[in-house]
Amino acid sequence: MAYGPHTPADRQRMLAALGMRSVDELFADIPERLRSSPLRLDPPEPEQLLMNRLAGLAAKNRVDLASFLGAGAYRHFSPPMVDQILLRGEWYTAYTPYQPEVSQGTLQSIYEYESLLAELVGLDVVSASHYDGAAATAEAALMTCRATGRGRVLVSRAVHPHYREVLRTYFDGAGLGLEDIPLVAEGPERGTTDLAALERRLADPENPAAGVVLAQPSFYGLLEHMADAANLAHAAGALFVAVVEPVSLAVLAPPGAYGADIAAGEGQALGIPPQYGGPYLGILACTEPLVRQIPGRLVGMTTDVDGKRAYVMTLQAREQHIRREKAASNICTNQTLLALAASVWLSALGPHGLRDVAALGAARASELEAALAAVGVARAHTSAYLNEFAILVPNAAEVHRELLRRGVLAGLVLAEAVPDEPSLADTLLVCATEMTTGDDIATFAREIGAVLGDQAGSSPGVSAPKAELSAAGARPEVARG
């Protein structure tokens, strides 16, 4: 066995101490009829060959495209010091700090994470981490039900569709009610959450709402009127949950400033690679009065018997290992190493670096908007955005596929991601960050201009490339440009 220490003599010695001849005797308690069929798996693979295999698989992915894809996971610069810290075995091979005296590193790092995030979101209580933005949002919505004793939560349709699906799964399981808040359909505010509709839904005295959930920026990249939404929620006795993107909080008003009771969000942007979906960092924070409702671990500062400053997991009476079926959540394993990644990343960039990252994304997005407009591609909405926006593209799915062949990952086809939102047919969601280069933008504008020009020039044949592409779609080699 690859990492095992035992020589045949070691095994013999252990068996002899047990008075046994074969290790099989230790499995005599498995009844005959329950014994396993043999494992039909490949033989062990030496490390050298394993590395070849993995390198081969990794090479089948394409990560060299000019990418404008965000939609809840973002590319950001990560200074090499971040991963070098994360590769220290003292961090990644430890477990939950059950013995605080020999876990002060992890405990202080969690305390610092809580402190850093508290600054970003403007709320005082930050959990040690949740699975991802979607799970954190679901926990936030469940918190509003526990705290108010009500069972109905209103969620904007501008919240990430994956988060809304996860909310549905969790709420359906718990037997709680979930309702959409529609989007404004017309006018300059179109695409943002319809606050008039929210007000109407909050006005039902028979069925009061526990919570209201909006995202800032919204899934469509738009900036919502969070303070107004929070006021409406509070006037109806509901709690307000803000779903946030942490890098944006360097420049956008934080949840604490507009009256949010709970903030949830995806922390991946804080220096964590996209890695096809995880492990990510679920951010969950709340005001101090809600501290006993928040699920997940909390670390506090205390002292040891000598009066020395120290850190420890605290308020554990909320948690499953103490409260079992009465716990605030079933969460146990969380995302501590990702919280550390976020903290190290924030320490590397500092407040100015973080602000530069957020502002550069906004600047690149402005350049992108202008470059696309110059080739006749306009935004789908008109209200303010930070660094992500939807564009109007006829035959969006086909154009997206054709651009992929030309080496451009043209964001997200919204009609596929949100099939139940008819207003999004013929739109792509695109984003820019500090990683987006001027060359990327120029390439995107040139190629989309060319593709749309080709389509306009051969309008009866727009479906022709589709057949060709679906055949090519199976191949990992997509573009040669």
């Binding site: 013995q99 590193g105 205390t302 501590t336 190493l337 924030l346």
Partner: protein, 501 residues
């Protein structure tokens, strides 16, 4: 909430000085944010620490050195399977082709990762003896919730919606009953038999038309194989309920017992336990769920599918209406799953079987050494699986030294403590899991330390009761931490200071 006491390592906030740290990213144009309406802008900047790279790196390195970890020493934390975390797996997950792949990248540019995930599913299907696997859950407890939500949906789909009870042994992890609650179901706790094993008759009595599922950890949290699990599963099915296996202790049964073959309907697997993905100081993990035929239609979306031409794709939104839906964003904690895949390929069929054999042999050897010493109570004699329970009940009666004290004294010997006071059903419990990657020399040294501490409890009980003495800090004021929670540093308010460069 002021900062207290002398400290081992200042917080980042205390290291901060305006004007420190710069040069990581380019500056944006001055008008970059002018187009943002004032309503949306932040008034006061976050008061994040300003530290230069050397200070920051030393801070994190100094902190790391206060941790006990698998890379620094023995970590026999029962039920957590703190085995070696192979270094090649860290290399694997960091390959740019894996690490930089966007989770919404079109299938055509994600074929390598999709193939890896699909192959990993096949390997887990073979190990579990089940029919299908979802890799979506982010942790064991998340997998439990996934499994129980599928069970609930199964009953609903049959018009059998009144099944509201989940039967759970009282020795189970707290996540089992907490999961039932999250799924809107009621937990019924079943007492273990005096021999530490599941009380089949108690389960038979509790089973009925309102039972949705039975959740069994096998081997149990006592480290014992549930020999009557076949009869129990039969009884569960006869009552119209489904059988869930908590796979926390899968390390004990690889190649010896396949839950699917034995009749379990659903189980979760903790990759961070059995398949060595690093525990990360508390996470991340991954909790793939394996199911039999009955539950396959209800698996979360999206699944990874293999097309007839050998290419791979994700299920599209709404493609399988019977699904319970999504459990998280995107496809799963792929970075964790890459490590698990590498581990499984490294070991192959024979290596996995050896893992279990060596893990069980090591646990029995250690158990025997403690039993022979007579220093500790061994509540359940006879062969165990990958972990076992020792108890300090007699020591406490004689000397007043408790399991907690012994755990703390072990830290002075350079060992992490076992899991203590769990399961809740055993007095002064220590749950000890050595894993297969610890040498016989380490096992002996650990047994010697435990035996020495038991002797010390008689000769110098105060030394044990006030341990640890050599750790970075001594015992903590946990009550004070809970009474006056200090959950964040409070820096002076942020201000728009000039950029260092």
């Amino acid at each position: 909430m002021s900062a207290s006491g002398p400290r081992l390592q200042p917080t980042l906030f205390e290291l901060s000085k305006p004007g420190r740290g710069s040069g990581k990213v380019p500056h944006p144009p001055h008008d970059a944010l002018d187009r943002l309406p004032a309503e949306h802008r932040r008034d006061t900047p976050p008061a994040l620490p300003e530290v230069n790279e050397p200070e920051a790196v030393r801070h994190w390195v100094n902190l790391s050195q206060m941790n006990h970890a698998v890379d620094t020493g023995f970590y026999p934390l029962g039920s957590c399977t703190m085995k070696w975390n192979p270094k090649v797996n860290e290399w694997a997950a960091r390959q740019p082709g894996f690490a930089q792949l966007h989770p919404l990248a079109p299938d055509a540019v994600a074929q390598g990762t999709l193939q890896l995930l699909w192959e990993l599913e096949q390997i887990l299907i073979e190990i579990s003896g089940m029919r299908a696997v979802t890799l979506q859950p982010a942790a064991g407890a998340h997998g439990e919730l996934t499994g129980i939500l599928m069970v609930r949906e199964y009953h609903r789909s049959r018009g059998d919606a009144n099944r509201t009870d989940v039967l759970v042994p009282d020795s189970a992890h707290g996540t089992n009953p907490a999961t039932a609650t999250m799924a809107g179901l009621r937990t019924i706790s079943i007492k273990a038999a005096p021999n530490g094993r599941t009380d089949l008759e108690a389960f038979r009595t509790a089973l009925g038309p309102s039972t949705a599922a039975v959740m069994i950890t096998n081997p149990s949290t006592m480290g014992l194989f549930e020999s009557e699990v076949g009869e129990l599963i039969d009884a569960v099915h006869a009552a119209g309920a489904l059988a869930y296996m908590d796979g926390a202790n899968l390390n004990a049964i690889l190649g010896r017992f396949k839950p699917g073959e034995a009749g379990f309907d659903v189980m979760h697997i903790n990759t961070h336990k059995t398949f060595s993905t690093p525990h990360g100081g508390g996470g991340p993990g991954a909790g793939p769920v394996a199911v039999g035929e009955t539950l396959e239609p209800f698996l979360p979306a999206p699944r990874v599918l293999r097309e007839p031409d050998g290419s791979f794709r994700l299920e599209r939104a709404g493609e399988r209406p019977t699904s319970i839906g999504r459990m998280r964003s995107f496809v799963g904690s792929t970075g964790v799953l890459v490590r698990a895949y590498a581990y499984l390929r490294t070991h192959g069929a024979s290596g996995l079987a050896e893992i279990t054999d060596d893990a069980v042999l090591a646990a029995n050897y250690l158990k025997q050494r403690l039993a022979d010493s007579g220093a500790y109570d061994i509540p359940f004699p006879g062969p165990c699986k990958h972990e076992f329970i020792a108890s300090a009940t007699s020591i406490k009666r004689k000397t007043g030294v408790r399991t907690l004290d012994i755990a703390k004294r072990l830290l002075d010997h350079g060992f992490h403590a076992p899991t203590v006071y769990f399961p809740l059903t055993v007095d002064e419990a220590m749950l000890i899991e050595p894993t297969e990657t610890e040498s016989i020399e380490t096992l002996d040294a650990f047994a010697d330390a435990l035996i020495a501490i038991a002797a010390e409890a008689e000769t110098e009980p105060e030394v044990v009761k006030t341990a640890p003495h050599t750790a970075p800090v001594r015992r903590l004021d946990e009550a004070g931490a809970a009474r006056n929670p200090n959950l964040r540093w409070r820096p002076a308010a942020g201000a728009w200071t000039p950029c260092p460069d």
